[in-house]
Structures are given as structure tokens and as C-alpha cells.
């Protein structure tokens, strides 16, 4: 960053911000004055009217000045801005005078709201010129406003604390008076030791240092200042009667900012002091900027560590520049993220409660150990010891078994031989299983292995201790909106992962959705439904899979099945979760299929008034007959579900 030219053009953003910062208080002056004028229609109040009109006139004059300097099409420089501030003093003074006079005439108690409004006008007038740029005004109650945009100070307006070190009393006095007239705070020291004492005691923005002094001369003081980390950054201007290059060179080599010759030229003195102060201000600003960048980085670390508190970036977020914007965006993103995490936690908690409730409601059914072809204790492929039957489906039986090789519990699904009747089917099925095995996600039941043992084809899978969404719906009737959303989000996520890997499930239904005790949804049978693909006719589909309720029209018609077919099935599942019933019901498979192909489902919100319209609409969109009318991808579904949670 360079020291910046005082005449440099301001950016359009800075100008717009400045225009706003100046016009807002003026608008307050005008607005309140106009209201008070409306109230002062009474002929007895002509004095009051005159002063309010004077106020309005001055405010309009100020507005014209602002528009003339900071008009949208113009690019004003810092110098012009400084002149504008100077020019605004006139109208501002008239406003303050008129309002102060009006305030003096008010009586406490009787003119409560009138004097309140006058105070507001006075407060607004105070904000019209940055502090330090104008004479004193009557103390008023201020409304907190955002800090105005930082601008180069107008010449002679920056107040600094300056230390003058000179052994000549007259020099000290001249410098003190000149500097104080420019609005600076001045302290003096008559020799070097005193100067170092003062510097140690309080902060200064600038030191004017005589070179030739008794006791401790200027060079020694300069060395002491530049050698002290706490003082090093205070600019020092050397003053010297010695009009000699070697002396000047020595000062600069010792770290002096600048030098001045005695006797002082007042214009040069002012210019050099302002230049030094401006440089220091820019450097301080840069340091502060770097510190605040550091705060943003700290905040990012805190977010990662989970210790970030919303609003911790407060001071940075109030900055008017890009860093402030970054901090604000960062802060609000963290807030939204936390809110979303909170909502997800709530949903999972609700879901767990539902699962526990369902568990209590389900009577422990004695497990049929001899229901399948395999018996308890029997060993499959010399490796898996059968424990119990977990379930039976259209394609085969599922067992819980112990993997003796790896000493862990697995699920084994045996497949009815008619599904793998020829080599082509078997090869296609193996391809599908190979793909499914690549899926590794917490919401997908892992497929381990596929094998054959004395004529029995089997699949081994991750064993999940949990209940199916089918059981949950059957015991609870319907699930809450929050629980459904928790299921929906996880189901959509698992489909997004699978589809990304090119795996279409083809048989999403509540029976295939497992919930563990922590509320984590696991989708099973990825790849398995491919077995049923050979069925091409509707009746056969019905026979094979029990019910076509979860099949989209294109699957029923044996047309091209893609990711959107899974989304349709997901829609049916969500519909059932929300309403406790499938979208279409019929006594026979054929009439069900007819309904599936021709009828529109009733909106879930009509069956369950707790369902928000947006969720209801989303479910219906998943159930669209034509794939192109549905939500197009599972990833998109994840996104659409997010704001509903």
C-alpha cells in the first residue's frame, strides 16, 4: 500500500457509501423539520416556523453541495471531499443554531415530543460532518449509526498527540502554538531524558525531535526510540539548525521519518507533519487490517474445531470493506450451518424416538430358525455359521450368520435358483454386484461377497441391527414430518451416492430401508433387483416382486429405467411415511397397475394436515408419471429437502 495521494479519485463504492453517509442524516434533518413544520401551522408559532424553515433551507443547501460534489456520474477525489466537508460547515452551523435556539425555548415536560424531535435533528446534523472536522455542538443523545466509510482526513483535521522535544523554550512554545492551532494535542520535553520518560508513560502519534540538546542529544533519543519495540513505530521528525547534509543523512539512517530546518516555515511544517501522520495512519490501518485478517483465520480454525461462537467476528464484521463483508458472510454461513445441524439433530432424535416406540410396540416375534433351506448351526461354504432367519422375500431368504473367518456377524441372502437359471443372467447379476460392492457409504448396506455352495447362490452383506421402515410404518401408522425428513435426507443421499457410481437400485421400498438404533438409515439390496429384470410383463412383475406399488410407469411398462425411477420409488416411500398409506391402493395387481398408470395421487397434505405444502408438493413431483417431470437427480432432491428441514 502506498502513502496515497490526497487528490486520488475515490472508488465508486466509496463515493456511494459517502454519499449515503452524508445524505442519510440530512434526510433526517429534512424529514423531522418538515413534520415539525406541519405541526406548527398555528399563527402563534410563526417564530418556530421561521427557524424550522431556516433549518430546511440550510439542509437543502447542504444536499445540493453534496450532490454537486458526489453526483453519481462524477468521480470525486479526496481533496474535493475535504473541500465539501469544509463547505458543509456553513449550512450545518445554521441548522445547529436554529435548532439550539428552538430547544432553548422549549419547556421540559410540556414540549416533550417536540424537543425529542429537535434533539434528533441536532443528532443528525452532528453526523453530517465527521468528528474533528467541525466546531463543538451542543451535546445531544446520539442514535447509534454504522460507522461512516473511512476516508482520508481533510487537511488539518486529523488530531494527533505530538511530543515536541527541544531545549529552546521559545522553539517549544512556537511549535506548541502552531500545532495546537492545527487541532493537535501537544506535550513538550526540554531534554532527551524527559522525552523518553514521557514516551514511556503515554502513547504519542508523532515526535518532533531537536538534534542538538544537552544531556541526551537527539541522535541518542532517536536511537533509543528505534531500538524499543514499543516505540519503534512512532514517526520521528528531526528538527535541526544544522543545514548540513551529513546531519540529515545520519537522522534518516537512524530511522527518522523526515527532517525540518529551523526556523520553521509554517506551511512546510504543517505539510510534513500531516504527511508523516498520514503515513502512520495508513501503516496502523494496514497493521489493523492484518490483525483482523488474523481474526478471520482464527475464526476459521475455531469453526473446524467446533468452538466458533456466532458474532465472534463482530468488530471485523462492522468494517465497510471487503474484509468486513467476508466476515459478515462467514458469520452468517456459520449461523446457518449451525441451525441446519441443530435441525438435523432434532430430526434424528425424533426418528430415534419413533424407532424405540416401534420396538416397544412390536411384539417380539419368535425367529423361525428353520424357515429357510438352511438351519441354525449349519455352515455355508465352510465359512458362515447360520444363526437365525431375518426375513424372507420374493427372491430368497435372509439369514443372520457368523463369519468364522473374520469373526463377525453378517447377513446372508440366499437366492432362489430360478433367478439364476442361465449363464447370461448370472453374468449380468455378477456385473451388478461388482458395481454395488464399490458403494461405500454410511447410508448403504455394504455388499461383501457373492458365491455358490452346493447349488445355493448367496450374497453376504453388512449386518445391521435395526428395523425396517416397513415395520416402523406398520407399527406407528404414519411417521412425523420431522422423522420423514430425516429418512428422506438419508435416502436421497444414498441414492445420490449410488447414482454417481452408476448403480440404479430399481427396488426402493420400505422393506429395503433399515434404521439402526441411532436413527441412521441404511439402504439394502443395491444391485439385487437386477435379477427381476428378466420379467417384462406387468403381471409377472407383480408376481415376482409381490407388489408393483413402488414402481414408476416406465418400469411397469418395461421401458428404460434410470435414476429417476429410483426417485419415483423414493416418492412413494415418503408418501407412505407421511400418510401411512400408499398413493394408490387396489384389490388386485391389475387394477393397481391401472391406477398407477392413469391416476394422480392425492396430495399428502390433504391426508395429514401437518405436512407442509412445500413438502407435499415435492413428494407429488417425485411421483410424476413422466420421468422428465420429476426431480431430475438425487443430488437435486438432497438440495430441495435441505430448506424443508
Amino acid at each position: 500500500m502506498s502513502a496515497g495521494e490526497s487528490g486520488a479519485a475515490l472508488t465508486p463504492e466509496a463515493l456511494a457509501e459517502l454519499r449515503h453517509d452524508l445524505r442519510t442524516p440530512l434526510n433526517h434533518v429534512i424529514g423531522y423539520s418538515e413534520m415539525l413544520l406541519e405541526d406548527a401551522a398555528d399563527p402563534d408559532l410563526s417564530d418556530r416556523r421561521a427557524r424550522l424553515e431556516e433549518t430546511l433551507g440550510a439542509a437543502r443547501e447542504a444536499l445540493e453541495l453534496i450532490n454537486a460534489t458526489l453526483g453519481v456520474a462524477r468521480g470525486a477525489g479526496a481533496g474535493e471531499v475535504a473541500q465539501l466537508y469544509e463547505a458543509l460547515r456553513g449550512p450545518r452551523g445554521r441548522i445547529v443554531a436554529a435548532i439550539t435556539a428552538l430547544l432553548a425555548g422549549t419547556v421540559d415536560g410540556r414540549d416533550g415530543s417536540f424537543s425529542d424531535d429537535l434533539q434528533k435533528i441536532l443528532g443528525a446534523a452532528e453526523r453530517l460532518v465527521p468528528s474533528g472536522a467541525a466546531g463543538p455542538v451542543a451535546p445531544v443523545a446520539r442514535t447509534p449509526e454504522p460507522a461512516p466509510a473511512r476516508l482520508p482526513d481533510a487537511p488539518g483535521t486529523s488530531q494527533a498527540r505530538i511530543l515536541v522535544v527541544d531545549d529552546g523554550a521559545e522553539n517549544r512554545d512556537v511549535l506548541r502554538r502552531r500545532l495546537e492551532r492545527s487541532g493537535h494535542g501537544v506535550e513538550t520535553a526540554e531534554h532527551g531524558r524527559r522525552a523518553l520518560e514521557l514516551l514511556a508513560a503515554r502513547p504519542f502519534d508523532l515526535v518532533l525531535l531537536d538534534v542538538l540538546m544537552p544531556e541526551l542529544d537527539g541522535f541518542a533519543v532517536l536511537e533509543a526510540i528505534k531500538g524499543d519495540p514499543a516505540l519503534r513505530d512512532i514517526p520521528v521528525i528531526m528538527i535541526s539548525a544544522l543545514d548540513e547534509m551529513p546531519s540529515i543523512v545520519r537522522c534518516i539512517e537512524h530511522g527518522a521519518e523526515d527532517f525540518l530546518h529551523k526556523p520553521f516555515d509554517p506551511v512546510l511544517l504543517r505539510a510534513r507533519i500531516n504527511a508523516s501522520l498520514e503515513k502512520k495512519r495508513l501503516r496502523d490501518q494496514e497493521m489493523e487490517y492484518l490483525r483482523e485478517v488474523g481474526r478471520v483465520i482464527e475464526a476459521a480454525t475455531a469453526v473446524e474445531a467446533g468452538t466458533y461462537q456466532h458474532g465472534a467476528l463482530g468488530p471485523v464484521a462492522r468494517r465497510a470493506d471487503e474484509l468486513g463483508r467476508l466476515a459478515r458472510v462467514f458469520d452468517s454461513m456459520v449461523l446457518q450451518m449451525k441451525a441446519r445441524e441443530g435441525r438435523l439433530r432434532d430430526q434424528v432424535r425424533d426418528l430415534r424416538e419413533e424407532i424405540e416406540q416401534a420396538r416397544r410396540d412390536t411384539k417380539e416375534t419368535p425367529l423361525a430358525v428353520d424357515g429357510g433351506n438352511l438351519r441354525t448351526g449349519e455352515r455355508l461354504a465352510l465359512r458362515y455359521e447360520i444363526q437365525t432367519v431375518l426375513g424372507r422375500g420374493g427372491m430368497g431368504t435372509v439369514y443372520r450368520a457368523r463369519d468364522l473367518e473374520l469373526e463377525e456377524v453378517v447377513a446372508i441372502k440366499t437366492l432362489r435358483p430360478e433367478f439364476i437359471s442361465d449363464a447370461t443372467l448370472l453374468a449380468r447379476f455378477k456385473d451388478e454386484i461388482r458395481l454395488a460392492r464399490r458403494l461405500s457409504d454410511q447410508n448403504i448396506v455394504r455388499t461383501h461377497d457373492f458365491g455358490e455352495w452346493s447349488g445355493v447362490y448367496y450374497l453376504t452383506m453388512e449386518y445391521v441391527e435395526g428395523i425396517t421402515v416397513r415395520e416402523l410404518i406398520d407399527t406407528r401408522g404414519r411417521l412425523g414430518v420431522s422423522s420423514t425428513l430425516a429418512i428422506a435426507a438419508q435416502l436421497a443421499h444414498s441414492l445420490a451416492v449410488a447414482h454417481e457410481h452408476g448403480v440404479i437400485h430399481r427396488d426402493i421400498k420400505p422393506q429395503n430401508l433399515l434404521l439402526d438404533a441411532a436413527g441412521v438409515l441404511k439402504v439394502m439390496d443395491f444391485g439385487v433387483a437386477r435379477l427381476a429384470e428378466r420379467t417384462t410383463s406387468v403381471t409377472e412383475a407383480g408376481l415376482v416382486l409381490g407388489t408393483p406399488a413402488y414402481m414408476p410407469p416406465e418400469q411397469l411398462m418395461a421401458e428404460q429405467v434410470d435414476a429417476r425411477s429410483d426417485l419415483y420409488a423414493a416418492g412413494v416411500v415418503l408418501y407412505e411415511c407421511l400418510t401411512g398409506q400408499a398413493p394408490f391402493q387396489a384389490a388386485t395387481v391389475m387394477s393397481l397397475v391401472a391406477k398407477l398408470l392413469t391416476q394422480e395421487a392425492e396430495p399428502p397434505e390433504l391426508l395429514n394436515s401437518e405436512v407442509p405444502p412445500a413438502l407435499s408438493a415435492l413428494v407429488l413431483r417425485l411421483l410424476a408419471k413422466k420421468p422428465e417431470d420429476r426431480v431430475q437427480t438425487a443430488a437435486e432432491l438432497v438440495q430441495q429437502l435441505a430448506p424443508l428441514g
Binding site: 463504492e13 454519499r19 449515503h20 434526510n27 443528525a124 449509526e145
Partner: protein, 123 residues
């Protein structure tokens, strides 16, 4: 009486604009940030919304988008108030779903004309 919702975080702007609109015969309710603005607007009953664009919690653009996304506030006229007369702010406000926009500081006669235009003539 015509009901206006004023969403504005600056206390003095809120005080002044609400009083001036009340003097013109409007019933004015106030919200101090975007979230409250959305909640109040959705609770219903407003003929028009004046929405400051730079607001805490959620900003005016986002608040407007949210209001446009739900049936109950889809058609309520919204005038966006933007602080900076920067090129592009108008488009941004209209894109978010504002029917019109005005720059702050507000000039009352100009704003009143816009309000009346949206409400279909002076009331």
C-alpha cells in the same frame, strides 16, 4: 385502511418514515430485521411492503426471495429500499422479486408516488 409493513433496521429511519407514512393515512407496522420482516409478512394482512435491502439476520434480497416463494406473500407488492444508488442495485432488487425500488435516503413524495402506483392510485 391501507396497511404497510416497513422492514428497516435503522431506528431513526424507521421512526421517521413510519410517522410520515402514518401522517399520509397509512397504517404502518414495523420489523427490525429480515427474519422478523418475513415472519410478519407471512402472518398476513399487508397491502404493501417497504423492504430495506441491507438488513441484519437475513438481508432484504433474501427476505424478498423468501416472500416470493410462498403463496401467502407471492403477490404482495414490495418496494426495495437500497442504500447505495449503485448501478445494478435496481436489477438486483427486481430480480429478487421486488415490484419497484427506491434509493435511500428516501424522498417522501417520490416514494409516495411509487406506493400509490403499486396500490392502484391515491387512497
Amino acid at each position: 385502511m391501507t396497511k404497510i409493513l416497513l422492514v428497516e433496521d435503522n431506528e431513526m429511519n424507521r421512526d421517521m418514515l413510519s410517522r410520515r407514512l402514518q401522517r399520509k393515512g397509512y397504517e404502518v407496522s414495523m420489523a427490525v430485521d429480515g427474519r422478523q420482516g418475513v415472519d410478519m409478512a407471512r402472518a398476513g394482512g399487508f397491502d404493501l411492503i417497504l423492504m430495506d435491502m441491507s438488513l441484519p439476520e437475513i438481508d432484504g434480497w433474501e427476505a424478498t426471495r423468501q416472500l416470493r416463494a410462498v403463496p401467502e406473500t407471492k403477490t404482495v407488492p414490495i418496494i426495495g429500499l437500497t442504500a447505495h444508488a449503485m448501478a445494478g442495485d435496481r436489477e438486483k432488487a427486481l430480480e429478487a422479486g421486488c415490484n419497484d425500488y427506491d434509493t435511500k435516503p428516501v424522498e417522501l413524495p417520490r416514494l409516495l408516488a411509487k406506493i400509490e402506483a403499486l396500490l392502484g392510485g391515491p387512497r
